[in-house]
């Protein structure tokens, strides 16, 4: 019975994987997701390599942006895609293999059993394992504190890409950020729309490629702050 319920939950979930030039990694990520019985859509954000082909071969649906629009825009495309289907939950999951699928499953289970609109992953809750460099951890902690002061909230990790949303909750949110500031915007919308949320510890495994591709810590933070301030 429990297994059937889990199967139903998995079938009613779409995993959204934004990807930019992830040809070497996206196939393995998609294969692992598909093996669990999830539907997965890869949003190829204008990659110049064969990200789309690899994702398709591994069993993903693919939506290709004509050029690089940004991670926020990719997630919004994924959410729009979910709204067009009949899924109940959407999970945002990174294409570079830094997330652990078992964390996503646990978060999904919590969303379903606890009837939450949103479940956020956190690198800073007890039990979470992360090999983030010290500077990155420090900047993220400071950013989390700042966001909590601004939003009068109690989020524990403002920039974790692993999130579970109920599709109905996404429909209530008004998202417009195209680049990295989308993470803060999502938290602001969760607060503004009074969505029920919780967070769970998640493990993040950074590789040298992940760290090279990611935003440079300080300049990235300045860019995010600028995007938040210039929000229309």
């Amino acid at each position: 019975m429990r297994k059937t319920k889990k199967g139903e939950l998995f079938r009613s979930t779409l995993i959204v994987v934004p990807a930019f030039n992830e040809e070497p990694r996206v196939g393995a990520v998609v294969l692992a997701i598909v093996a669990h019985g999830f539907d997965v859509v890869v949003i190829d954000d204008g990659s110049t390599d064969n990200t789309s082909g690899e994702a398709r071969s591994a069993g993903a649906r693919v939506v290709s942006h004509p050029f690089n629009l940004g991670q926020g825009a990719s997630l919004r495309t994924g959410f729009d895609y979910a709204e067009l289907g009949e899924w109940t939950y959407v999970v945002s999951f990174d294409a570079d293999g830094q997330h652990d699928l078992s964390n996503a499953i646990a978060m999904l289970d919590k969303a379903a059993t606890g009837n939450y609109d949103v479940v956020l992953g956190s690198r800073f809750l007890q039990g979470a394992r992360s090999n983030a460099p010290m500077t990155r951890s420090l900047v993220l902690r400071v950013a989390t504190k700042a966001i909590n002061v601004i939003f009068r909230s109690r989020f524990t990790d403002v920039n974790n890409g692993l999130r579970v949303f109920r599709v109905d909750a996404i429909k209530k949110m008004s998202l417009s950020q195209n680049r990295m500031a989308h993470a803060s915007e999502m938290l602001s919308e969760i607060k503004k729309r009074n969505l029920s949320w919780t967070d769970m510890p998640t493990d993040i495994t950074y590789s040298s490629v992940t760290l090279d591709k990611g935003e440079k810590t300080i300049s990235g933070s300045v860019k995010i702050l600028w995007e938040v301030l210039m929000r229309p």
């Binding site: 693919v62 939506v63 942006h65 004509p66 940004g70 729009d80 895609y81 417009s176 229309p232």
Partner: protein, 125 residues
């Protein structure tokens, strides 16, 4: 002689402002028109700029002109940045809609070539 040269230099601004107003670009049109009118006054009464500068505590008339030009340039850059940003956001929305439509079409259309490449992939080829 100086006054004729001044008028000649200012006249394109006046023409541009009138064209802008005719195209209903009111804010920019009026800004250009008022600026060029101030310019004509300064050409006709050059000593007035020094008087204005002294009244504002700037010093020389030339310094006042320099400050005004700096403020106008910075305002123009800010306005351009906002316009470009707004157009980029519109372009992104169009690109997202196109991608979604194309993906849905590929899922419903059995033709094999549909599912194999998208606008994005073709652009990058």
């Amino acid at each position: 002689m100086f006054q004729i040269l001044g008028f000649l230099l200012l006249s394109p601004f006046t023409i541009v402002s009138l064209v802008m107003l005719a195209h209903r670009q009111r804010a920019a049109g009026w800004t250009f028109l008022l600026s060029s009118l101030i310019g004509y006054l300064l050409v006709l009464f050059p000593e007035s700029s020094t008087a204005m500068a002294k009244a504002l505590g700037v010093g020389r008339g030339l310094d006042l002109l320099f400050f005004i030009l700096s403020v106008m340039t910075m305002t123009a850059i800010a306005v351009l940045y906002l316009k470009l940003n707004s157009q980029r956001n519109r372009l992104i929305e169009m690109a997202r809609i196109l991608s979604l439509l194309e993906a849905r079409l590929a899922e419903t259309d059995p033709r094999p070539e549909r599912g194999q490449s998208s606008a994005g992939e073709r652009l990058n080829d």
